[in-house]
């Protein structure tokens, strides 16, 4: 079905039953078809015209069994498989009774009706009071679209469970139709006193992948979440990550993003001693762009946040990071930092970094900085004069540049290594890797 048709149906009030709880505003948002463009501050580094200019199709149903069962999926343990954005239990390998429970969002809401008030499908919850005071509602379109079209899956970590095994979330794509928009929607709830690590791996795709993750880290719990994106050849990714952190709770977020993607991260340090470390690598090649908006809001006393970003642009590509730190009134003793470093591999490559601070409390510590650079020719000559080939020297230097950012959750992690190697392989194909 075409998205347009679906929207027409919505206008007549003829939408899916299970979405009845969905806030009316979300539907209005979709009806408005208000896709943000470069006029919206937060979207000025990402072209949305390929999204606007296409007639998208939607998949309201899971892919047929015979489509995915005949595929060979890796036999990773502790893995949740998503195919074309749908959770597929049959090929997943999560152990029973290990402290993690999976629900469909509608089931979860039946059991916990109050939970829907936590969710962000209500666009007004997303609207930003920008520094200029202008209410900027537009970025909510993608989130509303996602929550409207996706059934949503809830991953709940039981109270006081310390889960030793790393849990994999793997996104595979079988749909070959590049006209399709898929909407993976994952909700993670870490209940009080729990500890868990997830590694999310998204394979390459040719379609429009519009993902949403909403994360709740309750009191005294700790979540490590690594989100790793493979190269994106022809697809488009719009992605939102929202996280609420309670008292003494902590989020370690690790991101590997690629070209043709727009990431929107919002982390709320809601209570006393809430804490987050965010480290991200953004790699872009060809003439594509990779854009990240990352906002951390300090609401609780003594809350801490630390952001480290490394951006690499090859060829004529663009990387961008807009890191925003808001410290609300009464968030005394907050400590926030943001640092980004950009590396340009080509004269025509670009990178933007914009740290923004909005501090409404006096008793806080905030640090921020951004640096931009090219590969130093003297260093390159030094390495070559010791016998290292120019291309290898460049790769070594890039590796050193991103080494400070650890993506791995545990020691033997092939995924992040392979993904970064793949980027190197790709840029090595450039004749003039570095000009």
């Amino acid at each position: 079905m075409y998205l347009k048709e679906y929207i027409e149906k919505l206008k007549t009030g003829n939408f899916l039953d299970e979405k009845k709880w969905l806030d009316q505003n979300a539907i209005l948002e979709i009806l408005s078809e208000n896709i943000p463009d470069s006029k919206t501050e937060e979207w000025k580094n990402f072209r949305t015209n390929p999204i606007k200019g296409n007639s998208w199709k939607i998949l309201l149903e899971k892919p047929a069994k015979d489509v995915y069962l005949k595929k060979n999926y890796s036999k990773l343990p502790d893995t949740l498989f998503f195919i074309d954005g749908h959770y597929i239990q049959e090929v997943s390998s999560l152990k029973k009774n290990n402290g993690i429970n999976i629900f469909s969002l509608s089931d979860y809401i039946c059991k916990n009706p109050e939970f829907k008030n936590n969710l962000f499908n209500n666009p007004s919850n997303y609207a930003e009071n920008r520094l200029s005071g202008i209410q900027d509602k537009k970025p909510t379109y993608f989130i509303s679209l996602n929550s409207l079209l996706s059934s949503g899956i809830v991953i709940e970590v039981e109270k006081n469970k310390n889960i030793k095994e790393k849990i994999n979330i793997i996104h595979n794509f079988t749909n070959m139709d590049s006209q399709v928009v898929i909407n993976p929607y994952i909700i993670i709830i870490c209940k009080e006193g729990s500890q868990v690590s997830f590694q999310e791996i998204s394979h390459n795709f040719d379609l429009w992948n519009n993902t949403l993750k909403e994360v709740f880290i309750r009191k005294d719990s700790k979540l490590t979440f690594a989100s790793l994106q493979e190269r994106i050849s022809t697809g488009i990714k719009t992605s939102a990550f929202n996280c609420h952190i309670d008292e003494n709770a902590e989020l370690n977020l690790k991101i590997l993003n690629r070209e043709r993607s727009k990431e929107d991260i919002r982390v709320f340090l809601n209570k006393e001693n809430s804490k987050t470390n965010i480290s991200g690598i953004v790699l872009s090649n060809n003439k594509d762009e990779s854009d990240v908006f990352c906002k951390v809001t300090h609401k609780g006393k003594d809350s801490k946040s630390d952001q480290k970003w490394r951006l690499i642009s090859a060829k004529t590509s663009k990387t961008a990071i807009n890191g925003k730190i808001c410290v609300n009134k009464n968030a005394k003793g907050s400590d926030a930092s943001f640092y980004s470093k950009s590396l340009l591999l080509n004269r025509k490559a670009t990178s933007f970094s914009k740290p923004e601070l909005e501090i409404l409390e006096d008793d806080v510590k905030c640090r921020h900085g951004a640096s931009f650079g090219e590969i130093d020719n003297n260093i390159l000559f030094f390495m070559q004069s010791r016998g290292i080939k120019k291309k290898d020297a460049i790769i070594l230097l890039i590796r050193a540049f991103i080494n400070e950012i650890g993506l791995d959750i545990d020691d033997n992690n092939e995924f992040s290594k392979n993904m970064i190697d793949d980027f190197f392989k790709q840029i090595k194909e450039n004749n003039n890797l570095y000009e």
Binding site: M383, S385, K389, L396
Partner: protein, 245 residues
């Protein structure tokens, strides 16, 4: 080993090497001394293959082959080593792992198989002991936070590990304390044999006292203005460059 014929090099239309002729025979130790800005480092860089210079005229033959078309890494693989006047810092790359990459890259070029890691590390440790370089320097990021003298020692460490045929030492002795100078001179003296050559660029007599060069050239404005044997160093020490330029 090395033969430079009628070499003229300029940067931004300014001539830096001016019709230079220099021959370094196999097994010889050759010293170049010259005032600041006379073009000594430029010459080293041009021999090692650095980009960004205009070669207006001339040839550089290494083992009778013109090397102008070779990249710096190919020259290194053929056995040319340059110890930098200002060694660069590379954060994020450990010294030993850099050196292993360099050695393996050269070996690959010469059709040899990779080093045995164990043996490589043993050799590193042996050599660092000889050079009085703490083994922690192997795991530290290359030159990052090294003192000036430690950087110079590390250059010699790389050189002795890479075992080049032609060693170009651009002011290896500047910034070294007396003990370090002894250690390094010793290392160089022991390394030198009938199959390799040293090109030593320096401002000071002391290093040359240890090494005893076979030939000494005085360099000015991109050319050799006087050549002689070791006694030239003493004359220079007494009378200064004024006597020659």
């Amino acid at each position: 080993m090395l033969e430079i014929k009628n070499l003229s090099v300029s940067v931004q239309n300014k001539t830096i090497i001016n019709n230079l002729n220099l021959k370094i025979e196999k097994g010889k130790k050759v010293a170049i001394m010259g005032p600041n800005g006379s073009g000594k480092s430029t010459l080293s860089n041009v021999i090692a293959g650095k980009q960004g210079y205009e070669i207006n005229e001339g040839q550089i033959l290494f083992d009778d082959v013109n090397i102008f078309d070779l990249d710096p890494e190919e020259r290194a693989a053929k056995g040319i080593f340059l110890a930098f006047q200002y060694p660069v810092e590379i954060p994020g790359i450990a010294n030993a792992s850099f050196l292993r990459t360099a050695l393996n890259s050269v070996r690959k070029y010469n059709g040899e198989k990779d080093l045995n890691t164990r043996e490589f590390l043993d050799e590193c440790k042996d050599l660092s002991k000889k050079l009085k370089l703490d083994t922690s320097f192997l795991s530290r990021d290359l030159n990052t936070g090294f003192s000036g003298g430690e950087k110079k020692k590390n250059e010699i460490f790389h050189m002795l590990m890479m075992k080049p045929k032609l060693c170009i030492l651009d002011e290896i002795d500047s910034g070294l304390d007396i003990d370090a100078l002894k250690v390094i001179s010793n290392g160089l003296f022991q390394y030198s044999n009938e199959n390799n050559s040293l090109l030593i660029i320096t401002h000071y007599q002391r290093l040359l006292d240890y090494i005893k060069p076979d030939e000494v050239h005085i360099f000015n404005e991109g050319n050799i203005v006087k050549s002689g044997d070791y006694s030239l160093v003493e004359t220079l020490e007494e009378k200064g460059y004024q006597e020659f330029i």
